[in-house]
Symmetry: C2
Subunit: 160 residues, 2 copies
DNA sequence: TCTACTCGGACAACTTGTGTCCGAGTACCG
DNA sequence: CGGTACTCGGACACAAGTTGTCCGAGTAGA
């Protein structure tokens, strides 16, 4: 039960992309975060597939958020990178073995699965309640009001 | 972000072990659930290490809950089998790269990590709120009042 | 039209989870 | 009291998912 490490990178990328007007190349995002450019590219592809970011090809291309940061939840990013499959899969153990339950009596989900899925839902709801804009605000509160603008200026600067 | 499959088996085992007076061998639990005996043994070892079940060696040995089912939460079982490590690990990305934050300004956890950990806490709380006894009650409600006693009789019967 | 720069998916290496096995230890039975 | 059969426990292979990397397709700009 460990979350993919790329989720952290993707979240950081979305936060710094908030408020960006021009596309930012993946290589520049990787340099900024000091992580593998090739691997970060893969995570950004996941965000692109999910429709969270828009990719612009060609010179002066890069990635850009498709909508306002307040309209993108943390859950969106997590599911885009890590997959939206359920964390718990019920293999219907009750229908196996010598005292197997009748399939007809299994219209309702297994009680164990219900508990796990409820917890899963709570987890997702907590992530859905926070938007990227909320996170950016927290960063500003923690690191000062001029931290994010400085980052955006660095990202927007033309190639060294 | 997928939960270990052994968690499901361990939960089913704990539910059927509830109310058992005599130890039940791992092989019998495996036969009942129609799963690999060798692999289920490993999961039960995890439960034993966590102190949830007590192992009795020798003939007519097996596993037994160490305390009442109402005193064992689903979270206990999940953490015993799957590990109690956090689902999200913060690698302190903010302290890396060209615009790295000062370590002195990082006394508080990263805002991103805080969000993830809050969701993690919500997930664990939901699992902690449900005990094995609660699950057993749900099973009785779903499968009839005589379902669990029949299972216990089958498990307690001497080897074929 | 050409060039340079971008993303996108296909291709390996590795850590983690899955599955299995045999040895150490103990209760029962003769 | 000794032997035996049964139990758990940890050490040992196998497979899958994740991590990491690469090169080709496509496009904006000069």
């Amino acid at each position: 039960m460990k979350l993919s490490g790329g989720v952290e990178w993707a979240l950081h990328c979305c936060v710094v992309l908030a408020g960006m007007q021009r596309p930012v190349p993946a290589a520049r995002l990787a340099e900024f975060h000091d992580v593998s450019a090739s691997y970060l590219a893969k995570q950004l592809q996941g965000l692109s597939r999910a429709g969270l970011v828009r990719s612009v090809q060609g010179q002066s291309g890069g990635y850009l958020l498709t909508r306002a940061a307040s309209e993108i939840t943390v859950l969106d990013v997590v599911e885009a990178v890590d997959g939206d499959g359920r964390t718990f899969v019920c293999t219907e153990v009750r229908q196996r073995g010598p005292l197997a339950a009748e399939p007809a009596s299994c219209t309702a989900p297994c009680p164990i699965a219900r508990v796990m899925w409820n917890a899963d839902r709570a987890w997702r709801e907590a992530l859905r309640a926070v938007s990227i804009a909320d996170v950016a605000e927290d960063v500003t509160r923690a690191s000062g009001t001029e931290a994010l603008p400085r980052v955006r200026a660095w990202l927007g600067a033309v190639a060294r």
